[in-house]
Amino acid sequence: MTTPGTGQHPPVILIVDDDEGHAILVQQNLEAAGLSNRFEHFTDGQAVLDFFFHHGPNRHSQPGETYLILLDIRMPKIDGIEVLRQLKSDPELHKLPVIVLTTTDDSREVERCHELGCNIYIQKPVDYDKFAEAMRRLGLFMSLLLVPPVKG
């Protein structure tokens, strides 16, 4: 799949979730919905911040690459709220599309995430049929997104 109209290859989808099982289920279902994007998995907020702010010895974002973040909220070390805050207050990184994908549907949490600049908030349904359906629709939606590149 190429991003329509730009000739770019599709964005790398970063799944930021401390639960490996969730990451596998999300990826499987998005792939089943037809996404052929590359996936990367981060198990806490610190890891994904290090990735974009180029801290530490681990993987870093690549110039010219486009990214799309699927962000969980409750994670060890640095939670999703703080990741959102740091990314969205950066002059360049705030362009990154962030989809919050978490297990709670607390209205205050939804509000807080939107205030901080999250683009979409989706609850992971516990019921698996609903979960699969939510991921299928999310996959279809994501295939339509045009994502700007960010300078690392």
């Binding site: 099982g21 070390k77 703080e82 516990v126």
Partner: protein
């Protein structure tokens, strides 16, 4: 009044009138005496119940009753001629008194609650009614203030307010816990459901292969994927999810039971307690080549079992999060700060970055969930245990240098 007609009256009539006069005079005098007696009784009762003061229009005290002297701890001589600034506590605003004076200056009754300061510096609250007496022109001639001591009630109100705000805080805390736990319990459920479905699909695949095996032989290639990867992966996540929920529920139960444990607050000798705790971890300490130094500690007031658990947890954490680069050294110190005993448990372990520090007391939060065992409850419980004993816990830490956990408890009276 009798008409001025004496010159025309007969002697008899004059005598009768004189007799009438005398009778009326003594009657009205008797009435006066009765009225005075009543007034005196009312005043006695008032003096018994209330604090009474009379001032002139400028506010200078012209009369105080005994109760005023008693509560203000000033003598009558010290008060007469002064104004009320002598007992001003500085608690109320200028506007408060301006409004009071405007009201009574217009001849209107003022009612309110005032905090005053007695001669010995103590404070007392009075419920006050000031009644202005006005002259024919409507100008106040004098003010009588009648007051009731409400110091006790005010103190109770303050306690009540404190309770209410404590309760509100507790409620907020509880909400956070419910929120956290509901999220944490849902997470494994998503896995159990999702991988359950994967298991079901793998089984269906095998069933189809079995039922379509014409010669009773199932081709291995069809079974490979479900048997070698799908089923083991599904089982791994389902089992992990179930254990996670089990652990969360057990932890939650343990946490909730804390609030019901009856505390036995007593003076605690901390050096023997720490020595015991260190002795109990001797094996792990030796294995880790760790050293523990316990300096002289002040005694405190607390529950023996619960306080010991807090320190055991801190020592255990120091062991768990030791640095691989250097042998672990734990130093336990203590000092007295007024009525508080403050202890520190310092290590030279991996430390905690500043941005992660607020998280460490959160229920079920783990900074490094894969590296070390644990349920993310130790520090949450320590905080809760200490709170119930009027204590506190906080941390200072530098990544790569080490962490120091501080514990404060009421000091033992010596």
């Amino acid at each position: 009044m009798a008409p001025n007609d004496y010159h025309s009256l007969s002697k008899e009539a004059l005598v009768t009138r004189l007799e009438n006069f005398e009778r009326e005079a003594s009657e009205s005098q008797r009435d006066l005496v009765v009225a005075l007696r009543e007034l005196r009784d009312v005043k006695a009762a008032l003096d018994e119940h209330s604090i009474v003061v009379i001032t002139d229009p400028s506010g200078k005290i012209t009369y105080v009753n005994d109760k005023f002297c008693a509560i203000s701890r000033y003598s009558r001589e010290e008060l007469i001629g002064q104004d009320h600034r002598i007992i001003n506590s500085g608690f109320h605003s200028k506007e408060f008194f301006r409004e009071l004076w405007t009201t009574i200056g217009r001849g209107k009754v003022w009612h309110g609650e005032i905090r005053n300061r007695a001669k010995d510096g103590t404070y007392y609250w009075v419920d006050t009614t000031i009644f202005p007496f006005v002259d024919e022109a409507g100008k106040p001639r004098q003010y009588i203030a009648i007051r009731t001591d409400i110091t006790r009630r005010k103190a109770d109100e303050m306690v009540l307010q404190q309770f209410a705000s404590d309760l509100a805080e507790k409620n907020k805390e509880l909400e956070t816990i419910v929120y956290t736990v509901s999220h944490d319990l849902r997470s494994p459920l998503v896995n159990v459901q999702g991988f359950g479905k994967q298991l079901q699909k793998a089984c269906e695949k095998i069933q189809t292969a079995v039922s379509s095996a014409s010669n009773g032989q199932v081709p291995v290639e069809v079974l490979k994927q479900p048997v070698e990867s799908a089923i083991p992966q599904a089982l791994k996540f389902i089992n992990a999810g179930v254990s996670k929920m089990e652990m969360l529920l057990a932890g939650l139960l343990r946490f909730s039971r804390l609030g019901r444990v009856v505390l036995n607050i007593q003076p605690l000798r901390m050096n023997p307690m720490l020595n015991e705790l260190v002795a109990a971890t001797k094996f792990q300490m030796n294995e880790a080549k760790a050293d523990v130094v316990v300096e002289a500690l002040p005694d405190c007031l607390g529950d023996r079992g619960q306080t010991s658990q807090v320190f055991a947890n801190l020592i255990d954490n120091a062991l768990k999060y030791r640095s691989p680069d250097r042998p672990l050294l734990i130093t336990v110190r203590g000092r007295k700060d007024e009525d508080q005993a403050i202890y520190s448990v310092a290590d030279n372990g991996i430390g905690i970055p500043v941005e992660h520090q607020p998280k460490i007391f959160e229920i079920f939060h783990r900074l490094n969930p894969t590296g070390t065992p644990g349920e993310g409850l130790g520090l949450t419980i320590a905080q809760r245990v200490l709170e119930r004993q009027k204590g506190r816990i906080w941390v200072e830490s530098k990544p790569g240098v080490g962490s120091t956990f501080y514990v404060s408890l009421p000091a033992a009276r010596t």
